[in-house]
Symmetry: C2
Subunit: 194 residues, 2 copies
């Protein structure tokens, strides 16, 4: 007994929490360096020295593990962003970050693709939530920038946010398939016309 919680449902032990975090971090590293090729539970397990069953002890499914990797990276990305000002400055920051981590962009794209088919509820709810909050945040930032600059606009800012996110994701896919696609340049084009 290492827990002071005497209830029947005592939650994870400290050791387990730490181990889970280690697995998550190592999985992120493995994916980032080797690519998504070896992202079967067995391959990940072998790479970080645990059995595939052990992985499932901490993550309810492969899908859940990979979603957590994405969430983890997202949070790290937000921390790195800090209080960078300006919607498009923030976008460009993320875009540049992604360019040097193609494997994680690939993981994002792959998981997003699977999230739209029935049966992958973990990924689906992650991405649905992510898009919803991203749209809301972006719309809020746009509103702030607009009022700060004294201008005003009659366009639906939620639609603008939706459009920006769509363009970002869509360009990233095109870029993965053809590295000649200029994500940053095209985003600047969008910025200019908005």
């Amino acid at each position: 007994m290492t827990s002071t919680d005497g209830s029947s449902s005592r939650g994870p032990y400290a050791k387990g929490v730490q181990r889970r975090q280690e697995i998550l971090d190592q999985t992120l590293e493995v994916v980032a360096s080797r690519g998504i090729d070896g992202t079967s539970l067995r391959a990940i397990g072998e790479a970080i020295g645990v059995s595939h069953a052990a992985l499932r002890h901490y993550f309810s499914s492969r899908e859940a593990l990979l979603v957590e990797v994405l969430r983890e990276r997202d949070e790290a990305s937000n921390r790195a962003l800090g209080d960078t000002a300006g919607v498009f400055a923030r976008l460009e920051f993320v875009a540049h970050r992604n360019v040097v981590e193609p494997a994680l962009v690939t993981l994002y794209t792959t998981l997003l693709g699977t999230s739209v088919e029935p049966g992958n509820e973990t990924a689906r709810s992650y991405f649905a939530g992510r898009f919803a909050t991203a749209r809301a945040e972006l719309a809020g930032q746009l509103r702030d920038e607009l009022t700060a600059s004294g201008r005003h606009s009659d366009v639906d800012l939620d639609q603008v946010a939706s459009l920006i996110i769509a363009a970002f994701d869509g360009l990233q896919v095109q870029w993965l398939l053809d590295r000649d696609v200029d994500i940053a340049g095209t985003l600047r084009l969008l910025e200019r016309v908005l």
Copy 2:
């Protein structure tokens, strides 16, 4: 011998070509009606009354079959489009078409997602080619419309094309995850600002 081709490599027989087409059409129907859930080769085979091995006689892999389904639908879509004038009118036509066929949009999104991971060369080359020609065609149409209207623009039309396609695909994914997302409305927003 039902072929008049006397060479050593005489290609598929008439019956085979027809059968292949039947399988393709039926697969499209099955996917459209039942969704991508049952798109294992065995499930497709069972649904249309052939063994999964027979499917592989006509299509070198599951990936190849599904890519062909997408290509087939794309061509049908282009035929239906006819000579509809105007870049955004064409986009909206396709968007409306897609709204009533969510299963095929799901198939598109799913396959696109897998195409970016190594090892799925069939899907990758299909989508890479599709994006390349779509960008070129769209840029050409934009150029034509611009010169026809006597205006001119200093923006890179290839980038505009890339942006429009990215927005279209990106919005479609958001829509699949949340039907409240307004694809057509947001595309009109993009049209207005361009």
